[in-house]
Amino acid sequence: MSRDSRHERSAADDAAENTLARPSLGSQLTGGLLVGLAKLLSGSTSRWVDCQPDTCQRVYFANHTSHLDAITLWSALPHDCRRLTRPVAAKDYWDKGPVRRYLANKVFNALLIDRHNVKVHKSPIDLMIKAIGDTHSLIVFPEGGRSSGEEVGEFKSGLYYLSKKRPDLELVPVHMDNLNRVLPRGEVLPVPLLSCITFGPPIWLQAKEPKTEFLKRARESVIRLKDE
């Protein structure tokens, strides 16, 4: 990508500017601390099934059952990949209060999406594509909100439109197991049970694949990892 377009992008969006800034020492330390804490609390093991950690541009998409999902998944990535990976998170939650804002912007380098107020010319998909440029990866939860944990909900169409615009991105399915017991919906304090994060083989949008079929296939690729 040329310098000009990069400049244009940062002018267009504040969040994109973060992607280029080097994280400060403070946020690196906070990040390291949070990774340790998340690993301890969620007792997470990461498994890579037919998939290897890679710094190429990817979209990790996972089932969503807990507030800890994003940070646990982010922590489960090796350091090199984590540095380049931005969780996509809800603005209404992460923009509240200075602590959350600091964590989202400076530590996780999250991409905050306004769920309620979607503008026509600034659709979340466009924001995501701008934000990742040609280096970053994303973490998305295509169910849209947290499910109860027993079943993986239907996927929203964002993943489809994202890969339609950027068909080169590897879509890596991720299954988060037991995190709903670590920190269920509506709870603030976690219970440190063991959890397991399984990364599966990447999928791509096939040429002329209909939206519903692609979303179904994506959802199944997550569910299949549960029994791997």
Binding site: G43, T45, R47, D177, N178, R181, P184, E187, L189, P190, V191, P192, L193, L194, S195, C196
Partner: protein, 354 residues
């Protein structure tokens, strides 16, 4: 800390030498691909040796770093064991708050009490207050489905992996009564003379604070006692396994554990009785006391292993280690210690009080 006395050096040093030999043997077995041995057994052997190294160095650290290190270490083991236990059992959404308190209050609190040697409290906090709290908290959460089963599971997890195990480091922090004069520690004849003198003069002349000639056990004595306990448990496990492989015919409960046999159990108990008698010098006990303590500890440890197998079978998991892939299976390693620790704790108090 002062230089450890020769008994300690013999006990710890001897164990480390045996471990080193076992490790070397394991490495040789691994290199020999033509071996007739089942690779799964060799792998088991490796896992066991590795956990022994961890346990032994942790206990050896107690001699160097003091009792706080040991209490903290066992607290950590309890935490990991409890998390494996609860992960393996089905809890419901409404148990969340109760579980939070179990993990972040009762578990650390128990070890704080043990660390400060508050025997009156650590003996009752979990079995009484924890018991009541869990039931009450879950009832308040308002979900009555499988209520009794859910509270029982959490209580059992807390009892086995925290309460019972905490009696191992409690062996270090407790004030053990002093052994009888005909025991090993009364070899010092001065003690006997003073005692005789005291009896001649009348007991009231010798006040318990100044005149009591018997000195309580030092930290090192108690650390050796803990080391002895862990060593006997581990050797008893191995002996049961080996006797079972050699002579095992009658499986005790095939549904629960396919490889535990009566022959293995009795062979294991006899072996550890002999080992206990041979290692009596490491303890404040007389030889026959050390031998019977070893026999009892091995038998109780066996029931611990069986209990954990039964729980695993019920939950349909083979190992707590494979429950969540990649985790060590702490509970698989400490099942016998958990069960035997409180028994050995009270047994040693009983033996020492004469």
């Amino acid at each position: 800390m002062k230089t450890p006395d020769p008994t300690t050096i013999w006990l710890v040093g001897g164990t480390l030498v045996i471990l080193a030999i076992a490790t070397a043997a394991g490495q040789i077995l691994k290199r020999r691909y033509d071996t007739a041995l089942n690779p799964a057994i060799v792998e088991q052997f490796h896992l066991r040796i590795r956990s022994w190294w961890i346990i032994c160095s942790a206990l050896a650290a107690a001699f160097i770093l003091g009792q706080t290190a040991t209490v903290v270490l066992f607290g950590g083991i309890s935490f990991f064991a409890l998390r494996e236990f609860i992960t393996a059992t089905p809890t419901r959404r409404a148990d969340h708050r109760a579980l939070f308190w179990v993990f972040f209050f009762f578990t650390p609190f128990q070890y704080v009490l043990v660390g400060f040697n508050m025997y009156d409290w650590y003996a009752v906090v979990i079995p009484v207050f924890g018991f009541l709290f869990i039931a009450g908290r879950i009832a308040i959460a308002g979900d009555y489905k499988r209520f009794l089963q859910r509270i029982a599971v959490i209580q059992a997890g807390l009892m086995i992996s925290v309460y019972c195990l905490s009696h191992a480091p409690a062996m270090l922090t407790q004030d053990l009564p002093v052994p009888e004069p005909n025991g090993r520690r009364a070899q010092d004849s001065k003690l006997d003379n003073e005692r005789d003198l005291g009896e001649e003069l009348g007991a009231d002349l010798v006040s318990p604070s100044e005149g009591d000639p018997r000195s309580p056990l030092t930290l090192e004595d108690k650390a050796r006692l803990l080391f002895f306990f862990v060593l006997i448990i581990q050797l008893g496990d191995v002996a049961q396994y080996l006797w079972g492989k050699l002579l095992g015919r009658r499986v005790i409960a095939p549904e629960v554990s396919g490889d535990r046999t009566w022959e293995g159990l009795f062979g294991g108990i006899c072996t550890s009785t002999v080992l206990g008698a041979l290692l009596w010098w490491a303890t404040p006990f007389r030889p026959w006391e050390a031998a019977s303590a070893a026999a009892i500890v091995t038998a109780i440890g066996f029931t611990g292993g069986m209990t954990m197998s039964a729980i695993k079978r019920d939950r349909g998991v083979r190992d707590y280690g494979t429950l969540v892939v990649g985790h060590g299976g702490v509970l698989d390693r400490i099942d016998s210690i958990c069960f035997a620790a409180p028994v050995f704790f009270y047994l040693s108090r009983f033996l020492m009080s004469g």
